[in-house]
Symmetry: D2
Subunit: 260 residues, 4 copies
Amino acid sequence: MSIRTLIWNENRHEQTNALVRQLYPEGIHGKIASTLAGPDIEVATATLDEPEHGLTEARLAATDVLVWWGHKAHGDVQDAIVERVQQRVWQGMGLIVLHSGHFSKIFRRLMGTPCALSWREAGEVERLWVINPSHPIAAGLPPYFEIEHEEMYGEPFSVPEPLETVFVSWFEGGEVFRSGLTYQRGGGRIFYFRPGHEAYPTYHDAHVQTVLRNAVRWAHNPAPAWKSIANAPNVPADKAPVPLEVKGPTLHEAGQEGFR
Amino acid sequence: MSIRTLIWNENRHEQTNALVRQLYPEGIHGKIASTLAGPDIEVATATLDEPEHGLTEARLAATDVLVWWGHKAHGDVQDAIVERVQQRVWQGMGLIVLHSGHFSKIFRRLMGTPCALSWREAGEVERLWVINPSHPIAAGLPPYFEIEHEEMYGEPFSVPEPLETVFVSWFEGGEVFRSGLTYQRGGGRIFYFRPGHEAYPTYHDAHVQTVLRNAVRWAHNPAPAWKSIANAPNVPADKAPVPLEVKGPTLHEAGQEGFR
Amino acid sequence: MSIRTLIWNENRHEQTNALVRQLYPEGIHGKIASTLAGPDIEVATATLDEPEHGLTEARLAATDVLVWWGHKAHGDVQDAIVERVQQRVWQGMGLIVLHSGHFSKIFRRLMGTPCALSWREAGEVERLWVINPSHPIAAGLPPYFEIEHEEMYGEPFSVPEPLETVFVSWFEGGEVFRSGLTYQRGGGRIFYFRPGHEAYPTYHDAHVQTVLRNAVRWAHNPAPAWKSIANAPNVPADKAPVPLEVKGPTLHEAGQEGFR
Amino acid sequence: MSIRTLIWNENRHEQTNALVRQLYPEGIHGKIASTLAGPDIEVATATLDEPEHGLTEARLAATDVLVWWGHKAHGDVQDAIVERVQQRVWQGMGLIVLHSGHFSKIFRRLMGTPCALSWREAGEVERLWVINPSHPIAAGLPPYFEIEHEEMYGEPFSVPEPLETVFVSWFEGGEVFRSGLTYQRGGGRIFYFRPGHEAYPTYHDAHVQTVLRNAVRWAHNPAPAWKSIANAPNVPADKAPVPLEVKGPTLHEAGQEGFR
């Protein structure tokens, strides 16, 4: 069964900037979609300006892995939609956050931290080192790969300690960056991948494409959706694994919902 | 120098429930404050109904560790204040979240997950096992301690994997719970501690009091506030650690702010 | 392609104790082998008394996941073989350590800690709670499952903080235990699973069998063996990613091996 | 009360190499000792050629934090002494492993992995970036600091995922390295710090000295020694927290020691 992958793109630079349009005539989402499509990955795309940003309940329910690219319009993404995406991640949908998506509402909400960093747009060399060559996201990669022109992102990257550090980047201008990080939030696996400035042909790079394909496979959680993850069920005393008599004083009345 | 500790309490049950008022005539906050006060810990309290919930910018700036108790009125805490508290945690303020605070806005925001669990109010025995007796939060404790009457919280507790698991609880009714968990978010250390149902005299328990004192000391980060944590500074090419000539195409104009 | 799984058993209790022999007429390894065998899992067994404990270089090289059961004869396992197994784990072989294997040489070496715990053989009830129902190792399990008679293992379990806590056990006698823990060591994924005392029919339990099958699938790393993991290659200055002139004083001579 | 700190040095290069002797006339241990000595840190030194390598039971018992520098003579350290040091770390002694100590027996044993890396002695620039400026080990440091001449260590560094990544290094020749990592093993806090090649004046650098002082303070665990950490106590059924009648079949006899 193939992995139902939805590539979401803000798709604004493509409308206003000739350079970006020339690099990605079908949009960044189009390029990533054609990169990912294959026997085990089924692709679809969605963009900011579609109704509900193309992220309806039904569509998210039918998505195994969501890829997110955003930059200048993070603030235009509606909070209610962000919450919906977050809930679907908790239930088990994988999420791959790309490049400037570090400041997206969805990533910041899932991390609980600012997700800030330093940056420079100078077209410098980025060299990504593989920290664990046995990690599924590093499958088929050499010990390191280079991107000739990239935007620099520098530490400190204010995110929580990751589950695993998969890549660390070296920049020509002297900075370093933890450029591939994994997280788990509820049933959802999250991968942040640094490269992908819209002014450079990064998503045409074969190594970057390999990472994207690997990441989709890694982020796919085949478990049934964990729909009850945000529930707080009451377990009555007589239904406890070891049934009990209620003792001591009581505040809640029987059958009452918990407070939120 | 003593640790400036602010105990925040929703303080609603105390107003409406005779049982809680009898257990905590000075409020749960009052009881915790008198427990914590000592040569190295300086205490103050704040409650929901004070202006700005007693959590003004100035007060938070002068707080090293914030202790949080809330239950039935999580929804009444203003989002803007929650954001303010979160920013102060990022800068280095410690945060101790107690019991039903698992569903507080501040804890859920910092975790990025639902923070749900199962529960039962049956006055059953809770036995807290120390997982690492060398952990500062476990200083002075026996291998385990018991609370005669407590509310049950059961797994799955939908939080991220913690930095450390300090306590795990056994409940008479058959459940278990990871009842002492540590996290780091930016400069701030966070400790979640399970016990503390308002209908029982939990905060009168000597072991619980020891944990609270230890936790304040552990959560205190003496580093200067990390005020720039949410900034995304641009580092111009000529100011890079290894100064550069700009190469390749360019999207941003010189001196431009990054997008958010 | 099926997962080449080798079940290793000390196989001593079976020789000397009628009770164990009756529960496991084909040995604990035999029972686990027949449990695991299936379309995607190919099984073989090895025991302590075979030459090289049945763990030759060739056999390990052809093993994707090793399952380890040992108890009274940990000390009889030769150090050289333990080292060989450890190296194969580093290269990517999965390892599933069962029950009393917590004190095996291989587990203690991979953890770097004592791996001690408290224990009691009283045939009491163990109830295993699933901490993350979306974890692959928990696939197909209910929120908790019970084993009617088990040996108790109690905290503190002196192991490093795991990558993930998958199960926590409740015992009738009042203890708790982190009974399903994952680790990564080099390319190898490690899962410790608590149940399995030789005096009880634990491996006949359907839920336990589900965990074993899930764990084999989870521990399988399809990456090519990371054979260079223990190497410390010298990268000469003229072969650096950014070729250099040697500067400053020098201690090593050109082409010299690093010290170990 | 001051932190009783023992600086251990292999002290071999100093005997055979004029360059090293000139940089460190009192030995690397002597230089580190004079760096660390202060109102809250009490220093002593020990070297490989002393009886028992200067690491007697009594001396380790009276040590709060051990600093380790070794390189060409890792193999000369006796296994029995390594085991003794490891046990003391488990009990709560802090351990700071410097530079080429990555291949020391003690570090490899505590990590359970090869601890390998790539390397180059070319006197190139190392720039250490602070990942979390609020971390106690980073107190008083600027966002990054540079060492003019250092040996390069490159990823992959085959260690387990750390508790925290404190520093990441950029090298002139194009590599990166996670150069400050924290771990917890039992009661003991471990910090690996990369810089310190014997052919360069690294330990004369003020920033490096700041890190060393901070690390000693961070690694100090004031808890009483966890002497029982490797014990596996039997808890008889009638002494269980919830006393039990023994049920089901039995293998162990009453009062019997557990197997190891």
